[in-house]
């Protein structure tokens, strides 16, 4: 290709160009060739080393995980689904709500031995834990003795009066006969009649005084009885003939008044004999509320053989140990959501009812269920907390509206109404729910 003279932009016509010169030849000898080859080999080798398959190749993008069906989800109001072949299900400890007879106390109060009957020098006497109680007891005894004496006096006075009147009446009758026959005068008769009147007046006075004394004695006895009760002892208990008896006094807080009644069994443990417990019962409940402690005093009688107990010993009293049947579930089975507690009860292999429950006292690793589930229902124990999210979802009424009349409930139990006033409609509704609950009760496994 040949070029012709041309005119470029901003360029003058070129008339001459440097003459081309042939460059000197480049020598490429053996040494150069070897060097070139080695360089090429080195570069190739380095590139091959770099391009080798990486033992730990760079992070590749991973596929988004396939959205499988959830293993646990809420599937209805108060109902959740847990896939039975899932790993989560294997973690759940299933158990049954069982009715057990427990003797665990309903409540525990503290008390002290108020009085003990001990044999002192061959005589059974009461010993009290405080001088005030002793003084009250003495006063009471004395007042009782005074009453007895006053009663005796009154009787005697009455007898004396009667006897005296009778005697005078006899005399008057004889005198009248004598007057009739003329042996004695009317004056003698009148004297006798006057004496009779005088005697009657004296008798009335004596009887009155005796009655007054009796009344006073009785009042004093009443006061001393009340005093004794104020000191915390029911006087009737002190009249017991039983030997080796101890009376324990405990203060029942106002909040527990409903829980106690006379005759209720109890178990006592004394601080001086911590290894042994004693069974007793509530013998009496003092009708006064202590103004300092605002508590009621309950009195328990317990045997104290060999003078084991001492007045003043402190005691822990477990009240209400009468055997009772309670429904127990493991503590882990109860899940607290909002303001309520819930337990998961089986409906079928993969469906569980979120049952609202009312809990009672705890018993070691278990807790009482007062209301909400039935005996024998299969429930989720350890691991229930793992299902909390689904339980919360199932309680969302905006997602799962409550089925009319169909909400799962325990047999015979209606949901506590939130409103203060129960209208007839509510009551009917509750009754309907109650009825429907019986029909919708889980049919599954029961012992």
């Amino acid at each position: 290709m040949t070029d012709h003279p041309h005119t470029d932009n901003n360029e003058q016509t070129v008339e001459s160009r440097p003459a081309p010169q042939t460059p000197p030849p480049t020598r490429f000898g053996l040494k150069d060739g070897l060097q070139f080859f080695l360089c090429l080999l080195a570069v190739g080798g380095t590139l091959a080393y770099l391009m080798r398959p990486a033992k730990n190749p760079a992070q590749a993008l991973v596929e988004a995980p396939v959205q499988e069906a959830p293993e646990v989800s809420a599937c209805g109001y108060q109902t959740i689904f847990v896939r039975s072949d899932s790993a989560l299900f294997q973690k759940l400890h299933l158990t049954e709500a069982v009715k057990k007879t427990v003797e665990a106390p309903l409540c525990r109060v503290t008390g002290a031995v108020a009085a003990v009957k001990n044999n002192i020098d061959g005589e059974w006497q009461w010993q009290f834990h405080s001088p005030e109680l002793l003084a009250a007891y003495s006063d009471w005894r004395r007042s009782l003795a005074d009453v007895t004496f006053a009663e005796e006096q009154l009787k005697a006075t009455n007898r004396l009066s009667e006897t005296k009147i009778k005697t005078l009446t006899g005399k008057i009758e004889r005198k009248k006969k004598l007057v009739e026959i003329g042996t004695d005068t009317q004056l003698d008769l009148a004297e006798l009649e006057a004496e009779q009147l005088e005697q009657e007046i004296e008798n009335s006075k004596a009887v009155y005084e005796a009655e007054t004394a009796l009344r006073s004695a009785k009042n004093a006895a009443t006061v001393s009885t009340r005093q004794l009760e104020q000191e915390g002892i029911e006087p009737n208990l002190l009249d017991s003939d039983q030997e080796n008896l101890a009376i324990v006094m405990a203060n029942i807080p106002e909040t527990l008044f409903d829980s106690v009644r006379v005759g209720q069994r109890c178990r006592l443990r004394f601080s001086g004999i911590p290894d042994k417990s004693h069974d007793g019962e509530i013998a009496a409940i003092v009708p006064f509320v202590s103004k300092e402690l605002r508590s009621m005093r309950a009195l328990f009688t317990v045997e104290s053989p060999h003078a084991l107990l001492r007045a003043g010993m402190f005691a822990d009293v477990d009240l209400g140990i009468d055997p009772r049947d309670v429904l127990l579930v493991p503590t882990e089975a109860v899940v607290h959501i909002g303001r309520d507690d819930y337990v998961l009860c089986r409906i079928d292999e993969e469906h569980w009812r979120v049952a609202p429950v009312e809990t009672g006292p705890s018993h070691e690793e278990d807790v009482e269920i007062v209301r909400g589930i039935c005996d024998g229902e299969t429930i989720v124990g350890l691991g229930a907390i793992l299902l909390k999210a689904a339980m919360i979802d199932s309680l969302d009424e905006s997602v799962f509206p409550e089925t009319i009349g169909g909400e799962p409930q325990s047999a015979g139990e209606s949901q506590p109404s939130d409103t203060a006033d129960n209208s007839d409609a509510d009551q009917n509704s509750d009754a309907a729910q109650s009825t429907d609950a019986k029909s919708s009760e889980p049919q599954g496994e029961k012992p």
């Binding site: 290709m1 070029d3 012709h4 041309h6 470029d8 360029e11 070129v14 008339e15 001459s16 160009r17 440097p18 081309p20 010169q21 460059p23 000197p24 480049t26 020598r27 490429f28 150069d32 070139f36 360089c39 080195a42 570069v43 380095t46 590139l47 770099l50 391009m51 990486a54 033992k55 730990n56 190749p57 760079a58 992070q59 590749a60 993008l61 991973v62 988004a64 995980p65 790993a87 989560l88 109060v109 807080p253 106002e254 909040t255 601080s271 402690l293 605002r294 402190f314 882990e332 607290h336 959501i337 909002g338 303001r339 705890s362 907390i385 793992l386 299902l387 909390k388 999210a389 689904a390």
Partner: protein, 1046 residues
């Protein structure tokens, strides 16, 4: 001016050499002084204010503590964000300062404001968190016993022996304990025993407090001596506690022994630490002070640990570290060293291949150590540590470009004519160097200009890439100095007797073929131009939209950090029980070396975590020992799949320790995406959060969506009834004391065992607190000492209360978070936002903000949208000024879109996303891509000045510059090839950057080789004024065709 300077330096070469030697000496010294960072500290400046308000519900703590503190902090200067978290008994307020705020200045500002705050009685003094950063956890250890030492003793040793020693290590801000049982001396009493002696709880606590004191009575002069009077009355053992006097009953003293049992016990644990197969253990976490160098601090820490293991700990007890930042530093150093070594090797080999002479190749290669040392010297002067990430990203091929151009021309001139004498040789060298000074200067300046906008990056990306940009700028400056001033001088020394040029035989073989191709393309220029543009359009239209966008590449830290949230309200024991199963599952994987788990909140009470929260660190074995998985992603996925299968109702988040804490502090969440809903009413927020959660669950690619703040937690609430309290003559304080002291275990005194001190607490017998009913029976003593059961004066019930109250900038918020898998963050967020706008309506006064890594992505994206065009604009101006023609500048800019398209294609082929690292790569690429074009146009211009026709000038100019062009491209490409292929620890940031540069440069070079001449011919820029300096050498076209005849 550059030419004048060059001439001056050539005239005074020995002075220049002396100055260079002095500079090298200084830089060597600087290199020894500079600390080494594997990762720069990319955490924001944060000051935490931690206030304990024991016994109060979150709502109360928020109202009485958190909000007053937030208000007080409002007008502190340079504060970007104020965030807070309030839990039961604790308030944590975090202030995030602007980037660059000095640590101690920030803390001082906060301290000043704290002094003026009034907090309620019962609230403890607010404290500042340690002066560390999110990257501050550099060392974790377990206290191990071979002799069966129990966890209480281990914790005591940790608190009183190990931690005090480690705190003395310079650079350590704090060392915290996790796990174990806190030793206490417990006065355990039964209410009955107190009742017996008519004593109250207040009597006991007052007695303990008043029976433990030391006194001093000044001096007693005795003869010539002065005796210091000292009264000792501090409690030092259990026997002394037993003997504390309470009251006298009928002349008989009643002591603690008579009413209580004193024993060594443990405080109620709030946390459990377990590791591998051990269900209970004790951990220590060392935090580095902000601004310190981790390598140096670690050296000193390890010395302290060795000292402790050797002599301070009992036999059989030792400190076993399991996490050490040095591992990351060493691994990164190894990776970077490996990549750099290979890169430099390839560069030298290529130089040798093209230049032929080892002397010339080594002369060019000497640029690398010189520029590197120069950069280190400047880094020392500007207080920038050696960042391994920065070093790893240096393309030594680009560094040597200037020297390549100069020395190639020297070699070529020697190839044209032999030197007749040493002076002649010198003249050839000088002229060859001067001829290339301008294009070298312009080329290197363009690359440096391309880096300048990177210095404007902010936040995490700024902290990560600004040091890199500065390091590269400094290195390029050094390379420029070496190329312009030292190469000619050294060449004059080395080749004063002449130089035998050597031509690559492959190049010699292919040059004529290339020339023919150019001629053909010039003839078919319109077709070639159209095809090129079509190819560009194809890539831009078809490939770019398919490319994902993310903020940062996955920066492997080695270990895996797993956060697990069990259902709300779960007890610590149950969480520990299930965590044991989790550990067993993880340890089933043969590629796992250890797993450590932290359950609950740390003892320092600075983290608001409930018992349902577990944080686990999984340490994989060294990669060469892996047998089951191929990479870390597979390991995470396999563990994650197993855990989610076993615990589907538990939320698991897989992240890494450093990035988790950094993004938590920067964005308030460590999630890839978080939607922060703000508003006044909590129930409304919760409702919105649930709707958002449901929405996110339906977006493909979502992983572990959840509401970040823990849900409500059951509380046993004891509320005194004031009316009943009045009736029974009881003060609310008495109820509070019963709860705080007898139930809560608040200390009532201190026992001193030598240097150690332990709390004395007064607690009720365990059986008296076994249930809410039992608690109701606990006695509260009235003013006259009468015991009244608690249930009689207070209501006791179980309710759900707030677990965590989160606030941001003064308003409550809830955060819905999720991670993304299987797709890029950008597209995921776009889809999620679209659904949100369609499905969710925000009530007035409520707002939603999209945060997380996504927020960083948006910020960085907006920034790059500005700086990339700005960079291109500045380059255009420089080129236009230099070449005196907008058309020339335009032609030179044409390789840029092709470089971009090549880089994008490479990312797509390698399954990589666009992120900040690739953005930095593109910015670098745009400067480098035009270097060859600058050379080429210089050559073409020269031939046009010589009178050649445009076509001939193009051909000759292009062929003349073929060797230097190929050399600069090849060294640049091969210099970064190891970094682009590396997969080991520390390579994650360089890999995308290197990929973009390598492939982009390849594409732009191919364009410059074959298509730029065509566009030059089409646009034919006007000639600028001839410069004498461009004609110093005697140029002859090195083409096969006969030159045109004049």
């Amino acid at each position: 001016m550059i030419a004048e300077l060059m001439k001056l330096s050539l005239r005074h070469r020995w002075i220049v050499l002396g100055a260079a030697a002095a500079m090298i000496a200084f830089c060597l010294y600087a290199a020894t002084q500079l600390p080494i960072d594997a990762y720069p500290d990319i955490s924001p400046q944060k000051v935490s204010v931690v206030t304990a308000y024991p016994g109060c519900a979150p709502e109360e703590v928020e109202r009485q503590v958190t909000i007053p503190i937030e208000i007080a902090m409002r007008n502190i200067p340079k504060v970007e964000t104020v965030r807070s978290q309030t839990i039961f008994g604790l308030s944590v307020v975090d202030l995030i300062f602007e980037e660059g705020t000095e640590t101690y200045w920030a803390r001082q500002q906060v301290n000043e404001k704290l002094s003026g705050i009034e907090l309620p009685d019962g609230a403890e003094m607010p404290e500042l968190g340690p002066a560390t950063s999110s990257c501050g956890e550099i060392y974790r250890y377990e206290l191990v016993s071979d002799v069966g030492t129990d966890v209480m003793e281990l914790r005591t040793l940790n608190e009183w022996v190990v931690i005090p020693r480690l705190l003395r290590v310079p650079g350590v801000a704090d060392v915290s304990n996790f796990g174990g049982l806190a030793k206490q001396y417990v006065i355990r009493f039964d209410p009955i025993e107190l009742q017996r002696f008519h004593l109250t709880l207040a009597d006991v606590t007052a007695a303990v407090a008043s029976n433990s004191s030391a006194s001093g009575g000044s001096l007693l002069n005795r003869g010539g001596m002065a005796l210091v009077i000292r009264g000792t009355g501090l409690i030092e053992n259990i026997e002394q506690i037993n003997k504390i006097f309470l009251k006298s009953v009928e002349g008989t003293p009643v002591t603690i022994r008579d009413v209580a049992t004193v024993e060594v016990g443990a405080a109620t644990p709030w946390s459990v630490y377990c590791k591998d197969n051990k269900d209970e253990s004790v951990e220590g976490i060392a935090l580095m002070r902000r601004g310190e160098n981790p390598s140096r601090v670690l050296v000193r820490l390890k010395e302290a640990v060795d000292e402790l293991n050797a002599s301070a700990l009992p036999d059989g007890v030792r400190i076993e570290p399991f996490y050490d930042r040095q591992f990351l530093v060493d691994s990164t150093l190894h990776t970077v060293a490996h990549s750099v070594a290979l890169g430099v090797t390839l560069v030298v080999l290529v130089l040798l291949l093209f230049l032929g002479r080892p002397s010339m190749a080594l002369l060019v290669a000497a640029t690398i150590p010189f520029s590197f040392l120069f950069a280190l010297g400047l880094m020392y002067l500007t207080d920038i540590p050696i960042g391994l990430l920065s070093i790893g990203a240096i393309d030594f091929g680009i560094i040597v470009d200037g020297a390549v151009i100069v020395s190639e021309n020297i070699a070529r001139q020697f190839g044209r004519r032999r030197a007749k004498s040493p002076d002649d040789a010198l003249r050839i060298i000088h002229n060859a160097a001067l001829e290339r000074c301008h294009p070298v200067f312009v080329s290197v300046m363009l690359v440096m200009v391309a880096f300048l906008p990177l210095l404007t990056l902010t936040s995490i990306e700024g902290l990560l890439f600004r040091p890199m940009a500065l390091t590269l700028l400094y290195a390029l400056g050094g390379a420029l100095i070496f190329a312009l001033f030292l190469v000619p001088i050294l060449a004059g020394i080395l080749f004063h007797n002449g130089y035998r040029e050597w031509e690559n035989p492959l190049l010699r073989f292919f040059t004529p073929i290339y020339e023919q191709i150019i001629r053909l393309f010039l003839r078919l220029r319109w077709l070639v131009a159209c095809l090129a543009l079509c190819a560009l359009a194809f890539v831009l239209v078809c490939v770019v939209p398919k490319l994902g966008i993310e903020f940062l590449p996955y920066m492997d830290e080695g270990t895996i950090w797993v956060k697990a949230n069990f259902p709300d309200g779960i007890s610590l024991d149950q969480t520990a029980h299930f965590t044991k199963e989790v550990r067993e599952i993880i340890m089933e994987n043969p590629d796992v070396a250890f797993v450590s788990a932290q359950i609950g909140r740390a003892d320092a009470f600075s983290e608001p975590f409930p018992p349902s929260r577990v944080e686990m660190m999984i340490g994989p074995k060294p990669r060469e020992q892996w047998t089951k998985v191929k990479n870390k992603r597979e390991l995470i996925d396999s563990i994650g799949a197993r855990l989610r299968e076993e615990f589907p109702t538990t939320r698991f988040n897989f992240t890494q320790p450093i990035i988790d804490m950094v993004t938590q502090d920067t964005n308030g969440t460590s999630a890839k995406l978080a939607v922060e809903l703000s508003g006044k009413d909590f129930d409304t927020l919760l409702d919105l959060a649930r709707q958002t959660l449901q929405l996110l669950k339906e977006v493909p690619g979502v992983l572990d969506p959840s509401i970040e703040q823990e849900g409500p937690q059951a509380q046993l609430r004891i509320v005194p009834d004031r009316r009943l309290c009045a009736r029974y003559n009881i003060n609310i304080e008495d109820v509070s004391n019963l709860i705080n002291i007898a139930m809560g275990g608040s200390p009532v005194g201190t026992l001193y065992e030598g240097e150690r001190n332990f709390d004395i607490v007064a607690k009720l017998d365990r059986k008296t607190m076994a249930s809410p009913e039992a608690i109701g029976r606990l006695p509260v003593h009235s003013a006259d000492g009468t015991p009244i059961p608690l249930a009689q004066v207070a209501s006791i019930d179980i309710v759900d209360g707030q677990t965590v109250i989160a606030r941001g900038d003064g308003i409550r918020h809830l955060t819905v978070r999720c991670d993304v898998t299987g797709r890029d963050e950008g597209s995921f967020v776009a889809e999620a936002q679209k659904r949100f706008e369609q499905q969710i309506e925000l009530p007035p006064g409520y707002k939603a903000e999209w945060l997380g890594m996504f927020a960083n992505l948006q910020r960085a994206y907006r920034h790059f949208l500005l700086i990339i065009p700005a960079t291109v604009g500045v380059i255009f101006l420089i080129l236009a000024i230099n070449f005196g023609s907008f058309r020339a500048a335009f032609v030179l800019l044409l390789p840029i879109p092709f470089a971009f398209a090549s880089g994008v294609l490479a990312l797509w082929l390698r399954d990589m996303h666009m992120n900040v690292s690739t953005g930095v790569g593109f910015a670098t690429l745009f400067g480098v891509a035009i270097m060859d074009g600058v050379l080429m146009i210089q050559g073409i211009t020269k031939y046009r000045h010589l009178g050649y026709t445009p076509d001939e000038a193009i051909v000759h100019g292009r062929v003349d510059r073929l060797r230097p062009g190929l050399m600069t491209t090849l060294v640049a490409v091969l210099g970064l090839l190891p970094a682009s292929l590396a997969v080991s620890l520390g390579s994650d940031v360089q890999r995308p950057l290197a990929t973009v540069i390598i492939y982009g440069l390849t594409g732009s070079t191919l364009f410059t080789l074959f298509v730029t001449p065509v566009f030059y011919r089409i646009f034919l820029p006007p000639l600028r004024k001839k410069r004498e300096i461009d004609f110093l050498s005697d140029d002859t076209p090195q083409t096969s065709a006969a030159p045109p005849q004049g």
